[in-house]
């Protein structure tokens, strides 16, 4: 896939080039999902809404006033996503204390949420299959310590009497197998990394 620099995207969008807007969406969406996934606590509907909202704000800005440093378009988009996530969090906090009938009536996109939930379930099933396949109890324990307990590599290596190279190798093997299992379950590479 060709990479179009932020400066060029900014210029073309400002000039009214619709294909540049499509290109911006293709290029920025995966990164925005990463950033917002971390801030939406597993709420896939909210994640998808915020991604869309961020892209909309960035495109509108580029169509209008533009940004100070077009070379830093990605950083601008990332900051926009963070601001929207914070605003959304504040709003949710307010709704916890005030009874907001509009908010309670509002229907989040159910399709996005269901799809997101389904992809979580698929990931969990793939993890289960992965755990069943791992021959060494030590490897399963290693995954638990690393991903669940958030222990540092050094500590895990010490505890399980592993060299760092052996740890990295086992982890890389587990990742590869996880990807294969997801693909065997019908997830294309695109699906693997998308919430839709």
């Amino acid at each position: 896939m060709d990479f179009v620099p932020g400066g060029e995207l900014s210029r073309r969008i400002r000039e009214g080039d619709v294909t540049a807007e499509t290109e911006l969406i293709r290029q920025f969406e995966p990164g925005l999902r990463v950033l917002l996934r971390r801030r939406t606590g597993g709420d896939h509907g909210l994640l998808q809404d915020l991604v869309q909202e961020t892209l909309l704000v960035v495109i509108q800005r580029l169509r209008g006033a533009g940004i100070d440093d077009p070379g830093k378009l990605a950083a601008f988009a990332a900051q926009t996503a963070r601001n929207l996530a914070i605003a959304s969090l504040r709003k949710a906090e307010r709704q916890k204390t005030d009874v907001d009938s509009d908010a309670t009536d509002r229907n989040p996109d159910p399709a996005a949420s269901v799809d997101g939930r389904a992809s979580d379930i698929e990931a969990a099933l793939a993890v289960r299959a992965l755990l069943r396949e791992l021959p060494q109890p030590r490897d399963r324990l290693m995954l638990k310590r690393f991903y669940l307990d958030d222990h540092d590599k050094e500590l895990i290596c010490q505890e399980l009497d592993l060299s760092e190279a052996a740890f990295n190798q086992a982890l890389s093997r587990a990742r590869r197998r996880f990807r294969q299992i997801l693909e065997e379950r019908g997830f294309s590479k695109r699906d693997l990394l998308s919430d839709r």
Binding site: L35, R37, A123, A124, A126, P137, L141, L193
Partner: protein, 159 residues
């Protein structure tokens, strides 16, 4: 950016400024962002699995069970083969022994009944008329006839 930074970011161990730079890099590089998202999915999947219980992470290896089954299958197969081979060898040995202790005439001659071989020429003829005319029920054989024959055999001097 490398795998170690992906792991640090996903586990929330990057500092605020480093995380901001990392995120901007992700937004600018979709392929890299996909790697990060994959790592997020693996972590989320593991957390999802662990929500109910972490038993799956700490269970003993499943290996011994299938190893035991495989070992048992091998033992059974070897046992069955050994038994078949032994039967075959026994038959061969039996035939060889018979060949050693019998003459060609005996082997090729008419077969004899066991009673004849043991010299039971004096087997009393049962009361065939009454036996055959009735049924195969043993109770119909006159008891006195067999008793007399048994008595004659047991009182005979030992050879």
């Amino acid at each position: 950016m490398n795998q170690a930074q992906i792991e640090q970011y996903v586990s929330g161990k990057l500092g605020a400024r480093e995380a901001d730079e990392f995120e901007a890099y992700c937004v600018a590089n979709p392929e890299f962002a996909k790697q990060v998202e994959f790592e997020q999915r693996l972590r989320d999947g593991i957390r999802e699995v662990a929500q109910g219980s972490t038993a799956e992470f700490v269970r003993a290896s499943a290996e011994p069970r299938w190893k035991f089954a495989a070992a048992a299958s091998v033992v059974l197969a070897v046992g069955a083969l050994s038994w078949t081979w032994w039967q075959h060898q026994s038959n061969k040995l039996g035939r060889a022994l018979m060949a050693a202790v019998s003459t060609d005439a005996q082997r090729n001659g008419p077969s004899l009944r066991l009673a004849q071989v043991r010299g039971a020429e004096s087997v009393p003829s049962l009361a065939s008329a009454s036996y055959a005319s009735k049924s195969s029920d043993c109770s119909t054989v006159p008891r006195s006839t067999t008793s007399r024959w048994i008595a004659s055999r047991t009182s005979a001097p030992a050879r």
